[in-house]
């Protein structure tokens, strides 16, 4: 190993540039081997990035028939993601791939699409899933991220809907990587931060969905590591979280940004949060956090 490093350092001392044109040639070749992230508006980039990452995991995947999550193999999992991406596409007026949507509900659409994809090869499904995702990305260039829509019955602004798709794609990419014995690197810090911000702002909604009555209180949420930040989150709906600026709070929670996202995504049941203040509230919020996660 020491000689390797010396040898490479020596080569760097006397570099020999390859013929010109190699860079452009490489980018063309590479795009044919694995599609780059779809070009899209900045607020949809975390989604485009997670789609490309799942495609990368797919490229190294070998155990195509092994159940990954919910008893689904890779083809069924991709189809589930495509089903939910398609519901969002329909809600923003983008083309929907596959048979027409019979019912605007995630599991019903998943079953319909899985039935449709069963007769197709995994590579065909990969292509359809990716086409649907890229179509959605492109369609968002003219969308207003603040407009409320309710694909599958969950009302959120378009900007948050696409971050939700990014988060779910990330979680299932992680599931697939674990199943394949691959190590999935984290999203780049900016994209991770956007998803962490969504998770932070969803906390009051997960509490409400779990039947918690929290009154007029607020918490401080500090997420550490890449993509982290410091949020002030009122627990009453309709008062969106924002950057923490020294406000009085009932509770301070501290967690790793990636782990926090995974808890909201229904992964990491054993992960605890560092809490200071109302510890009973912390336990309630922690228990409620995965309320929006589902298959």
């Amino acid at each position: 190993m020491s000689l390797d490093r010396l040898y490479l350092d020596l080569l760097d001392e006397a570099p020999i540039a390859p013929p010109s044109g190699g860079r452009a040639h490489l980018l063309t070749t590479a795009a044919g081997r694995r599609r780059p992230a779809a070009s899209c508006v900045s607020w949809a980039r975390p989604y485009a990035g997670r789609i490309a990452a799942l495609d990368a995991v797919f490229a190294s995947a070998t155990a195509w028939d092994v159940p990954i999550v919910e008893g689904w193999n890779l083809q069924e999992l991709l189809t589930h993601l495509m089903a939910k991406d398609g519901l969002l596409a329909a809600a923003v007026g983008a083309p929907v791939h596959g048979p027409p949507i019979a019912e605007d509900e995630a599991m019903a659409r998943t079953r319909d699409l899985q039935h449709h994809e069963r007769s197709r090869s995994l590579l065909e499904t990969r292509q359809s899933w990716r086409d649907q995702a890229d179509t959605l990305c492109h369609a968002l260039s003219t969308a207003d991220p603040t407009r409320m829509i309710s694909p599958g019955g969950l009302p959120l602004p378009i900007g948050d809907q696409i971050l939700g798709r990014a988060l779910e794609t990330w979680i299932h990419t992680h599931d697939t990587a674990v199943s394949e014995g691959l190590t999935l690197p984290h999203p780049v810090p900016d994209e991770l931060h956007a998803m962490a911000d969504l998770c932070a702002r969803l906390l009051p909604l997960t509490a409400m969905l779990s039947g918690l009555h929290l009154g007029d209180r607020a918490i401080r949420l500090t997420l550490t590591g890449d993509g982290g930040g410091d949020w002030h989150i009122p627990l009453t709906l309709g008062h969106p979280g924002s950057v923490y600026e020294g406000q009085e709070v009932a509770l301070s929670i501290r967690a790793d940004a990636v782990e926090f996202c995974f808890v909201l995504g229904g992964r990491g049941a054993d992960r605890t949060w560092e809490a200071e203040g109302d510890l009973a509230l912390a336990a309630d919020l922690r228990a409620a956090a995965p309320a929006l996660s589902g298959p």
Partner: protein, 178 residues
């Protein structure tokens, strides 16, 4: 050069990151492949293929196990050796893309056997003061700071001696190499 960040960008499908990696490492990989194959067209193909493979299956690289530079160089070296071995076919195209890239083997290395001999000889031929810093830094795995302390010179002096030694070695190695 932040290997972790580049890896994350490549996995996220960021083409700009691939272009930056090419700018950063293509001369190293091309030079490495050229030394082994002595064939410019083959070295160019190998360079392209190493980057394209990394782009297609970036999870084959694990930044926790070694540097991206060494990993790319190991694959370039392996492909260059493959090329030399199959040279009787005289068709670079026959190399084609590998379907499954074995993970870079830490034992495998990036230096051809005859090059190892030449590097070791070149190190032995350095003046004592320069040979000492190379041996400490590379064979002994010391940092600049540790090298400086060990030979009793300021850190800046150790650094410039190391640069000078590397340049001398590179010149020796290049004489008649290509």
């Amino acid at each position: 050069m932040d290997d972790h960040l580049f890896h994350r960008r490549i996995v996220s499908g960021d083409e700009l990151a691939l272009g930056e990696l090419y700018d950063h490492f293509s001369a190293l990989l091309y030079g490495l492949a050229l030394r082994v194959t002595r064939d410019r067209a083959a070295a160019e193909d190998i360079t392209q293929e190493v980057f394209a493979t990394f782009w297609e299956r970036p999870l084959g690289f694990d930044p926790g196990r070694g540097s991206l530079r060494t990993w790319l160089a190991t694959i370039a070296h392996r492909r260059a050796v493959d090329h030399v071995r199959s040279e009787e076919r005289r068709r670079v195209g026959a190399l084609g893309p590998r379907l499954f890239e074995r993970p870079a083997d830490l034992e495998e290395g990036v230096v051809a056997a005859d090059e190892i001999v030449r590097v070791r000889e070149a190190v032995r031929g350095l003046p004592d003061g320069l040979r000492q810093v190379i041996e400490l830094a590379y064979y002994g795995g010391r940092t600049y700071r540790e090298v400086a302390v060990e030979i009793g010179v300021p850190e800046g002096t150790a650094k410039s001696r190391l640069r000078l030694a590397l340049r001398r070695l590179a010149e020796t190695l290049n004489e008649g190499a290509l």
